[in-house]
Each structure stands twice: as C-alpha cells, then as structure tokens.
Subunit: 319 residues, 2 copies
C-alpha cells in the first residue's frame, strides 16, 4: 500500500485537490467551486466528499497520511484563514478544526507562498537546501522564507511578507493600505503600472501605447520586449532593479543560498533574470558576493499549488 | 563547585574577558591589549595566560565549561574572524582552532551584535522570547536576529546585517563601499551626518551650528534636544523615521515579538523611542499591528559585550 498525502489549494474561485505520493506524483486530482459554499461547514463537507471520491478513483491501494492546505492568509500556527480579502468567508475561519471532524490524521494549513516554498523544497529545485527564499510573482508578490530547513513563520505565523516591504516611502498605493510596497513594483500588476510610468517619461514609439492599462498583461510586455521595444525593455530593467534591491536586502537579513522566482512574471525569462543578476552583482555587500544563486522555480505552474500543499503535509509528517 | 563560562570581547584596542556564572554574574574580569599582538598566536597565548590568572583570582572553586568569543566579523560556523577592518590581524583568522591548543572544552565565536542578542536572551530582557531582534546602535549599526530561539546565521554565517540594508538607493556613502545603508542614517555616526543635512535645510539658530562635525556626538545632540533645540529634535525625528521603516520592514520579513535597541544612541531615550513608536504605528502592516514591542536593552553597556560572549558559551552548552 502506497503512502500518500492530499494537497488542497484554496483559490477564490475554485478549490483544487490532489492525491500526491512522496515522489511528487499526482495520482489523482479533483476540483470543486469555492464560491458555491458561503457556509464554510458546507464547504468542508463538500471537500471531504471530493476527497473520498478522488481516493476511490486512484488505481492502486493508498494509505492517506496527512492533509496539507494552501490558502490566502493561512496561519500555520492556528490552522486558520484570517480575514481573507478574496474568499467568500469572513473573519477568522478555523479550517483545520472543521476538517478534524472528518479526519484523525494531521491536517495542516499555510499560505500560498509558504506552500510554494515547501513544494520547491520537497519536490523542486530546493531539494537539500536549508536556507532559501521563494518569490511568487503573481498578481501580487508572495514569499516563502526557509531557514535551517524550516519555513519562517515568526511570532505571529505571518512572517515572510516580502511583497509588503516598503521600498519607496510615499510611493505607489498598495492594496494593504500603505504606499511603496515591493509588490506595487514587482508583480504582474506592478509591471503594468511601471509601463504607465515609463510611457509618461519617454517619447519613444511603442506598441504599449496602444493597449489600455486594463488590458495590458505581463505576457504582452514580454512580447514587446522580444520585438526590441525600448519601453518594454526599460520596464523590465526597472522591475529587475527593484527585485534585485529586495534580494540584496533579504541577503543582508537572512543570507540564503538561493532565491527562486516562481509565477507568471518569472516566465519573462532572460528579460527579468539577466538584469536582476546584473543589479545583484552591482549592489550586493562584499561578504555575500557569490554566496547566493538566482534560480527559476523547478515546479510547473499548473500543479505547483497542489504540490506545495501536499509538501506541507509531507513536511509535517517528518516532524 | 560552580559551573562558569568565559566571555571574551575582542575590540580593536583591548580584549576584555570575564568569568560568568549561569545567572549572569561576572565573578572576575580582566583585560589585555589587542594591538600589542600583531602575531595572533602570541595573542591567543596571552589571552590564555590572562584566563588562567583570572580563574585563580575567583574567590570560590569554579568549573570552566565553555568559552565564548565576540569579535568583529566573527563567523560562528567556521570559528573564524574574516577580514576584520579594525583589528591588527588580516585575512581569515581561525581563532577557535588556535584556542583549541589550550582547551578541550567548547570554544565558540560570533560577531558582536549576535553576542548582544544572545546576552539579551540569556541574561537580559529577552529571556523566554523565541523571536526577537537586537539593534546595536554604536558607531555603526549591528543586529542580532533570533528565530525560534536560535541566532540566525544563514547559509554563510553572516546573516543579520540589518545595518547594511540599503534604505536609500544612491544615498549616503557607506563604509561597506555602497550607498544608502541604514547605518549611514541610524547610528552614532549617522546621526551626526543627519545634523549636517538638517542644518543645511533649515535657517533656525541652533547650538549645533557651533560644533564641528568632527567633534559632534550623539550625546551633544541629545543635550541640545533636551534644551528644546528644533534642529536636534528634527534630527531625532528623521533618525527615528529611518529606524521605524527598517523595523516595519524587518517585521514583514520575520515577524518578531520584540525589537531591542542597545548602545550609545539608544541612550537618547524618549527622543528616539517616542518618534520610532509613532512611525511604527503609522506604517506597520495591519496584520502585524500590536504584535511587536519596542524595548530598550536590559543589559548595561559596560558589561554587555562580555555577558553576550558568555551567553554564546552557555547557549552552546544547551545544544
């Protein structure tokens, strides 16, 4: 009988769950609507039902050992989701407690970015690394920080908010209610804002002048860069300089051996990685020179969230 | 027979050593010149001799369990001092190895700021805390970061360089060869530079206009603030805003439960603490509101370095 864990990724629209073995193979996958269950008790009952159905769908005999959940504003210590901005439930939701009505095995929960870091450590490019950071470059910027082989949760359970480190006091308005946070510059939404800024500064012709900010995406900016558009190239350069400054400062703080970039914006590839490396080399403190690698995530975006949540469960079993 | 450790504080001019019991009582103390021994082998022999002399000077019978050393650019992992800018020795000095010629008990080494954090944890205001940061505000700005009850050393052994986090890209020249590091704003030398900046901006009369930058000290600026000098008050306000921004960003990174301020500049008391608290409250991310305390160090400056080095030794014995 094969030992497995279940990884559950709770998104604003859908919840995806996968049955995952220790090697990172997803044996079976399923999904349900998140929005359809305004009552969280009904939601947990539906997830439970989906899990049982998915387990019977696996071709071989499996033994379920633990359940890991990745959720926005997830608190590992408490097993709660706290004041999630994009979910149907409000306030503090003791999700692990609800799941314990159905399961006696460990049920653990953390936020998406910490799950991504665990996925990288258990199944991806960070295998065997003890000190590293994953930047998840999505609509916002999340981060999972691993220190001595453990995710950094801090006193509150909410450590690792690199996206909300203030880079420019009085800078761009952030969704957190403050100004100048890293994610307002370095994320899929941040890079679109940078296009507006650079277009306002330069007189150069650019295909980006013919796309509304509302329709503009990181992918379209990458395409413009591929065609040699100077505005797009300057936009990547500015984004890279912000990310590099954040990385240089993170290295001064915790001295990791690697930084992984994950998510949509990381697909810009050389347009992002090359200038980030250049700015890191120019700005890193001498004692940290050549001590930290910049790497793309080794997880596929399509299944990283489920693998990350599953990795949380596998990690819990090691403790 | 009482168990003791020895704390050794290696300074550019003098080396101070103390025999310390588990409660933080310094039973006997001694010092030798650091500069007098350009050959590090002779230096270690002299320290050894001083230790033996000091041990016999203690009134009661003691059992020496471990030796802890605090030194600039000390690397805990390697037991080395690496390229210290202000010591007589050059390159990488394997100090713990040299001491092991004389002692079979554990000999451990770290940098001054990490030793300060350990001193706070074992003997000071951080007893029982698992996640906190000590800022040492001396000529420069050092920091010791404690995560889950352990000093954060990172991949290289050099983590915890908050003083060299770049706050102002292209800002003030720093001794590290870069620009805009926190310590160029928030340290005894940084605050003197801020006086120059504020004097250049304002037309107000101020006693600080009659002191050369070379002669100016944090103490004199504090005295001016006590007399209501608006320039001095603005200088503290600007220093506090930089420290608060650094603290708010450190909280986003590692979510500590307390920040301790130690060292000369911390003696400015309310002129520094009050505006720092104000700026923290104004700028901290909502999820971290009221989760972190700002506290003065509970160690006396006169013996903190020896106690910190001794705390490193006591901590090592726990492992």
């Amino acid at each position: 009988m094969k030992d497995v864990t279940i990884g559950i990724d709770i998104g604003g629209t859908n919840t995806v769950l996968g049955i995952v073995d220790r090697s990172g193979m997803i044996l079976s996958e399923n999904s349900i609507s998140t929005t359809q269950y305004p009552d969280v008790n009904n939601y947990v009952a539906a997830v439970h039902e989906a899990i049982e159905k998915t387990l019977t769908g696996v071709g071989e005999k499996v033994s379920l050992k633990a359940i890991g959940i990745g959720a926005p504003n997830g608190n590992y210590y408490q097993g709660t989701i706290e004041y999630p901005p994009n979910l149907v439930w409000e306030g503090v939701i003791p999700l692990c407690k609800y799941f314990s009505k159905y399961y006696t095995i460990p049920v653990v929960l953390t936020n998406d970015a910490n799950a991504a870091a665990l996925g990288e450590m258990i199944f991806g490019g960070a295998k065997g690394l003890k000190n590293f950071i994953v930047y998840t470059l999505g609509t916002g910027l999340g981060s999972g920080i691993v220190i001595n082989g453990e995710v950094l949760y801090g006193h509150t359970g909410f450590a690792g908010e690199i996206g909300h480190i203030i880079m420019v006091p009085g800078g761009r308005d952030c969704g957190c209610g403050r100004q100048g946070c890293l994610e307002t510059y370095a994320s899929a939404s941040g890079i679109v804002r940078t296009v507006g800024e650079i277009l306002s500064l330069r007189r150069a012709e650019s295909p980006l002048r013919y796309i509304t900010p509302h329709e503009l995406t990181a992918k379209k900016i990458t395409e413009a860069a591929e065609n040699g558009d100077p505005v797009a190239l300057e936009v990547f350069d500015k984004t890279a300089s912000m990310l590099a400054l954040s990385i240089v400062n993170a290295v001064a703080f915790s001295s990791p051996e690697a930084i992984f970039l994950f998510g949509g914006l990381a697909n810009a590839g050389k347009y992002l990685f090359k200038p980030i490396e250049k700015y890191i080399n120019e700005n890193i403190q001498v004692i940290f020179r050549n001590t930290v690698k910049l790497l793309p995530s080794q997880l596929m975006e399509s299944n990283a969230a489920v693998l990350g949540a599953s990795a949380l469960a596998w990690k819990e079993l090691e403790h």
